[in-house]
Subunit: 662 residues, 3 copies
């Protein structure tokens, strides 16, 4: 597309006299695209049916004159007061039964039919007006769908939608009663109209019902987006449609949402004010990019790449010189074809006054502007080559929203979080400079030498079979504690000891387990004792060989980690959460057995990542620290950008190219 | 009754084909009784008036064929959806005015007349159907009454009931205004209809009103149980009626509730997932059994004895080998005639999926099953002898729900908890192997050499007199800080300096005090300085002699602990909360003065306890640790069970018998 | 007035037989005034229109017979049940939409017209009855206005009042849309009726709207008080009207509230149970008195001076011998003409049972009574001389409720609190024995050698000009981080880099900044490295000279503190929060440059403060510790009270007199 750097722009926040100055500065910085209008319903329709798109057309035209293209956002994440005051019932209800009122954003119930009618009218008019505008290239549906909508909405409209969703899924109420295990605590229903949204109870909730609720909420959002996309697609067939995701966020199944988009976009704020650390660790950011790439198995856009201090009531840390550029190129290294910075100029008003952009409040180009300009000047020339290229990892980590939901509902151990667990496995590989794909559980694994599937808590016969066949056919599989615990309805498996049929694959049985509540444990691996956390499966060998044993608990000297040859492959079972050191050593062993290639060697804080097309491999070496770093590459590459090979300045990004091996 | 071991059983959770396998396994394990049906209303009445008891009759008959008797629970802790959806107003309202909805359990308002009508219809039909069933021996009313009902319910129905309760108590509104001290903050009422349930205020609440509210809530529950018991008793005159208590839980006055039952039952989960420690300390468990025995001054049943990991969203610790048996026999040692394990098989569905039982989800007998079987094989033969026998302690600790309520309302110090305070005194005696009774404050103390009455915060002239007479007649009494502060209405005493008339008994006055907020203090006892906590009464001697003095605060070198000979007895006053070390040393001194017998000597973690009948004394020695332990007994006993005298294996329970001394 | 010591008295809490004993004891203690009736509506009007003032008249008369005068409080902080039950809608609604019910105090919506009608009826009758009572000298309006009213009220009545308030302020909805920056997140309003109270949203709130809401709430309270005061003033022209403030409390703009009163009163509880420390540091108390004096630039009354342990459900620390007296005389030293102790006798009932007074529950005079008596005996003879005299500081700290509100809404850093920041600057001066005035930002500063204006976050052109002129004319000004960030509407400044026009005054620019979230930083001042906290402005010199530089962060070695000669004066800019040590050293430097006088030298815990009239200067030296202390005075004074010059016993208060220098 030839569009690789951009900014999120809000001309409606500023006097019209300023616009051309802004656009000139953008041009000079290397901006090729802007996103606009995703929170401007009131400006575009200040009263029912009275549309005012002129100001936006003017902005689009001005940008287009400077060669800058526009992506338009539908502003449905913030319906204006005149809608909400007329129909207060479209303000959502939370789990405690409290209404959440106008005054922020996402004060909307996405199932509400009156709200749907408003959206249909507005989005139709909006799309028609810009369908043939030469400056416009595509659309963003709503904004960060699912964000702020945590636990929402419990209203009457949602209850009816939920009941219909359940009826479609189960057909009969008897089927639902079975699937939810309503025999427990006398929770049987006589018909679907008796079912409610999960408002607070006096004590406890039904985990099977909660899993359906979370899936329903995801479906509601996917349908909401699909329905909006349909309106636009019919009117604007030449435009692409995307949406800005939020990494691993779990309010909506992003695999489903990705299905209806032309490509996926992502928002990322490594130095957000919700961080205890100055910024999110690099390995976590890398994993975010990899999972985003995985949602559609395609390159993606960064729709909001952090370019300044984040802040609402409080602020995060300032960005160090070079840090923004390193993060932007990390996005590219992992598959971003385009990087749009949030945002052009720091806003003077509203909740996000302190969410800083390329320009500060004053509008004067400063340190960040200069850094962004240097970035585009250095890398724009390569971006067209990168376009469409993909990393080609030998290792995959299995990722599933349903597992995430189920462990959200019942974490088993208070500190056990599904995504954190994935991140721990990911980090061991990242530190070894081994690229990783995130995949869905039923994906074809045949291209991977090693598949790591942590916390396969919910299990189906099909998925059991899928894992068994992968290993039988020569695959290497890592399974972990809490595998096979539940069926697809979040009911416990009862036919066999854990991990069900996968016990055969792993050559083990897990008849008991221990939760390390308020304590930690130990494992003996080789001659060394290592720390473990949260959980201990108590394992009986059934053909497998033990490669590590517990050194604590009444199950001391019983297997903690096992290895089993099965068919042409190997299945490992890790019955606990390894501490960081054990994780590193066990992954060295496993990736060694699997003969996984590493891109090079370097200290922590130095990242290596590749993108490939049919001919070439681009290698990115990124220094995420404020110190000089040395590194060594394992392959043969030619330096394209960078001062000195094997040596990195603070936050330096070096680019290499090599030939694709077939 | 010949019934000593049992399990809680939920046949409705499992396919009928499995039932007989379960019952055979139970039989083999030594099960003599099951509790069933206490959460199965929907299964028994799926629509209004359509009763389905066949499945339960079938289960009862099957069990009976194997000689296993049944206790039936009334399922009124979980009214089905068809009731709740028709009458949503019977879902309770919490203090914040939020309704608590269907979806867990206890989603019911116990004062609601519509709910009462449903219960009456159902329980009548239920009782009639099983009145003459040969497999049924008794009933459990509801389940853990008061549990989950914390702060519930604030609805209109409860408000009316509360107003009537107050009218009965006070007669006139003037009497209530006086008793509540409504002159403060202009809270006077003109009539009872102006009084509300204690919904959240803008600031503050009336402690006298709150005390009545807590008493009312207890009475509501007691009446609710009494009314249900009446229905059953009339229809099933041959059956016993019990209820499963929760140790020291304070939602209902268990002394009152015990009054309407044939015997008391208890539920105990030492390794629950709400524990910070791997399990509740043994001394706390021992105290729980002793207070349960005290509620009716009779042996009791364990209706839910933990037999596996506990868990809802998160789990507790796994039980170590032998631990379940040690806990079960601890129950017996303190007065349980029958031990019913919760539960037969770990449930596959609902909130309590991870609340483990004798069998795991797989239903295969494993480690725990084998341990349970060995337990019944070893001890069933003695259980018949134990039946009806009681411990015979020389020391009593006074326990009162009203004191508990009053200190819940105003803890005085943020970390001061009534039951914790009792537990601290109890532990000092437990560690010395001195058996203890819990008694009510107006009980006859004459059989006790020593009575410890911590936190006698609410005081009446009758109770003052009772304590004075006990000491005058030769009794030994320990009183503590915060004694005599309030009258029965939770109004402060104003006639005299603290501790009121008990000051005469103790030979002291307490004109001032200090709250050790965010700090601790010290005491000099003998030549040693000890840590103290939370509170310092500033004491003036008035005949007493000082046995410890403060070493901190502006009241340094004034009395902290005093001793006063009065009549033929002695009254000690402990003006602070002794740290563990001071508690131990001061109790050594006091029990020494009182010539209290100790059962033996052993390290921490070794428990000694006796039960006696007219002829015999059984002594239990229990190792609550995973290490070998040695001990020495002070009396003459014959070893009945146990490998080697004076030596305990991990978690071993040894049983001795001796002759009763007269 | 000849009235200098008093107590808060609640005869309605006690039997009439006790009254005369109380009054005799008061007389003996030196009591000259009582406050009564501020929570006694029900006693005075038990049913609508039926007034019972006889009891109060009797009490007033009894006191008057003993020469003790009465201040009457209007009881509008606790409307009786008969009002609330008839009009439940006057119970306030909180931000979560929950009603706050009767049962505590302040269960009222201050905008409710029905409630207004009740107040008008009652207060009129009350004032008429006592207008000519010879024992009555004045009135207190309501009680601690704003206390407990945090976030209240969000009801329909308040919404209408708020809409009218906004309409008056903005005239047109377009003006409001601009002022609130509603272009952000599509929050534009078409008319004032669309605006709501700030009930909880799904995510985020508008900081400009929140600032108006807080100002509105303050105005509502001020109007409420004004309207009550008007009723009384018309009927009782001879009586003064006051109100009991709460130091720095920010629910109402005390400068506005002071405007309608004859004098300001204050309540202070240094050893309240909400303190983590045994009591609030002396410097904080001193600052409280200074700000209270500043609200009306006049001496004030202490209406509630702590005289015993504070407590609701939990208690604070006991007062050490002498501590109450030291605190009382600290009040006097800072400008109190009269000290009324809360309260006469510890109440036996209600929420504040454990809020102790001069007498304990028993009513027997004890340690505290004796101390109070000694205090009046020592100091009453000087109080008449002190009356009307004022401190005369050379240093002022700027204090503003609007800055306080704005930083409450967006603290910028999670631990940044406006008043705490003022207190940190204050403490450095207090420790140097330098008296301080608190002033409003637009006050005339010409009498001060040094003005410290921390956190001038909201800025107007007028205020910029005011600061510039002060310095130009020879003033010394300290400005700090986060100055000039916002305009009066809480919108960010966009014309210039920070700190706007004040950058010229300070000779600097602040184009960037860093929030020290979860970390701290360092500064090099002289040759020493010091700790700094929370924030770092990144400063460009523009004429100023650097007097300290950062030693941490990517802005290491750039200016942290600057000094700029401007006109005839000097402006310092402190771009961070100095740790205690740096604050001390930098203030030593700045006060040195300004040639500020210090009263003397002494260790921490020894306070020095002066009050002056036309001729004389009284110097108070107060030992706030339990140890002996030495000190040295810098001026020439004669000892009036105190055992030994230059030496203080624990908690001793010494009084000196000197001649006024002109």
């Amino acid at each position: 597309m030839g569009i690789h750097f951009g900014v999120d722009y809000y001309p409606e926040h500023w006097a019209k006299e300023r616009w051309e100055i802004d656009v000139q500065l953008m041009k000079e910085m290397g901006v090729q695209v802007v996103r606009m209008a995703e929170f401007s319903w009131f400006k575009m329709e200040p009263v029912l049916g009275e549309f005012h798109f002129e100001w936006l057309e003017e902005a689009v035209a001005l940008l287009d004159r400077y060669g800058i293209k526009t992506i338009l956002g539908t502003p449905t994440a913030a319906p204006p007061a005149w809608i909400v005051r007329t129909n207060p019932e479209l303000q959502p209800i939370d789990r405690e039964g409290r209404r959440r009122f106008f005054g922020g954003r996402h004060h909307d119930c996405q199932s509400n039919p009156v709200y749907h009618a408003h959206i249909k009218r507005f989005v139709t008019a909006f799309a028609k007006r810009f369908a043939d505008n030469p400056g416009v290239i595509g659309w963003q549906i709503d904004n960060e769908l699912g964000n702020s909508h945590n636990d929402l909405c419990m209203c009457t409209s949602c209850r009816q939608f939920y009941q219909k969703w359940l009826q479609r899924k189960y057909g009969t109420i008897e089927a639902l009663n079975d699937a939810w295990g309503t025999a427990f605590w006398s929770q049987g229903y006589n018909n679907f109209t008796q079912i409610g949204t999960p408002l607070i109870t006096a004590a406890g909730e039904n985990p099977s019902a909660m899993l359906d609720w979370k899936c329903y909420c995801s479906d509601l959002i996917v349908n909401f987006a699909d329905w909006q996309a349909d309106i636009i697609r019919k009117i604007c067939p030449k435009h692409f449609i995307t949406h800005n995701f939020m990494c691993f966020d779990n309010k909506v199944d992003y695999y489903d949402l990705a299905g209806l988009l032309d490509f996926v976009s992502n928002d990322i704020y490594p130095a957000g004010h919700w961080q205890k650390q100055p910024h999110q660790p690099e390995s976590e950011l890398a994993a975010c990019h990899d999972v985003i790439r995985g949602y559609k198995k395609k390159p993606f856009w960064m729709m909001e790449q952090q370019s300044g201090m984040a802040g609402w009531e409080i602020m995060g840390r300032a960005l160090e010189p070079g840090q923004m550029s390193a993060w932007a190129m990390q996005s590219v290294a992992h598959g971003a074809d385009t990087v749009v910075f949030f945002r052009w100029r720091t806003c003077a008003m509203g909740t996000e006054q302190f969410w800083h952009g390329i320009l500060g409040h004053s509008g004067k180009p400063g340190r960040i502007y200069k850094e962004a300009k240097k970035l585009t000047q250095t890398f724009t020339k390569y971006m067209e080559d990168f376009e469409g290229s993909m990393p080609s990892p030998e290792v995959a980590i299995v990722h599933s929203f349903r597992q995430n939901y189920a462990l959200d509902i019942q974490p088993n151990h208070p500190q056990l979080h599904y995504v954190e667990q994935l991140q721990k496995y990911y980090k061991a590989l990242y530190d070894k400079k081994i690229p990783v794909d995130f995949v869905q559980d039923m994906d074809d694994f045949s291209q991977y030498k090693l598949v790591i599937a942590p916390l396969q808590y919910l299990m189906t016969p099909e998925l059991e079979q899928h894992y068994i066949e992968y290993v039988a056919n020569g695959g290497h599989l890592v399974l972990t504690m809490r595998t096979g615990v539940k069926d697809a309805n979040n009911l416990c498996m009862t036919e066999m000891e854990l991990p069900g049929r996968l016990g055969e694959l792993c050559g083990i049985e897990v008849p008991e387990y221990d939760c390390l509540l308020e304590t930690t444990g130990g494992v003996l691996y080789g001659k060394k004792e290592y720390a473990i956390e949260k959980w201990c499966d108590i394992i009986t060998l059934n053909g497998a060989c033990q490669i590590a044993e517990y050194s604590t608990g009444f199950y001391k000297q019983t297997p903690a980690i096992t290895e089993n040859k099965y068919g042409n492959g190997i299945a490992w079972y890790i019955g606990t959460e390894p501490g960081e050191e054990l994780m590193e050593d066990i992954m060295t062993y496993i990736t060694g057995v699997c003969e996984i290639e590493t891109l090079g060697t370097a200290g922590d804080g130095v990242e290596m990542m590749t993108r490939e097309n049919e001919d070439k491999v681009w290698l990115f070496v990124i220094n995420h620290t404020n110190d000089e770093q040395v590194y060594h590459l394992h392959g043969r590459y030619t330096l394209l950008e960078g001062e000195r090979e094997e040596m990195l300045k603070p936050y330096e990004v070096q680019l290499f190219v090599g030939n694709k091996r077939r």
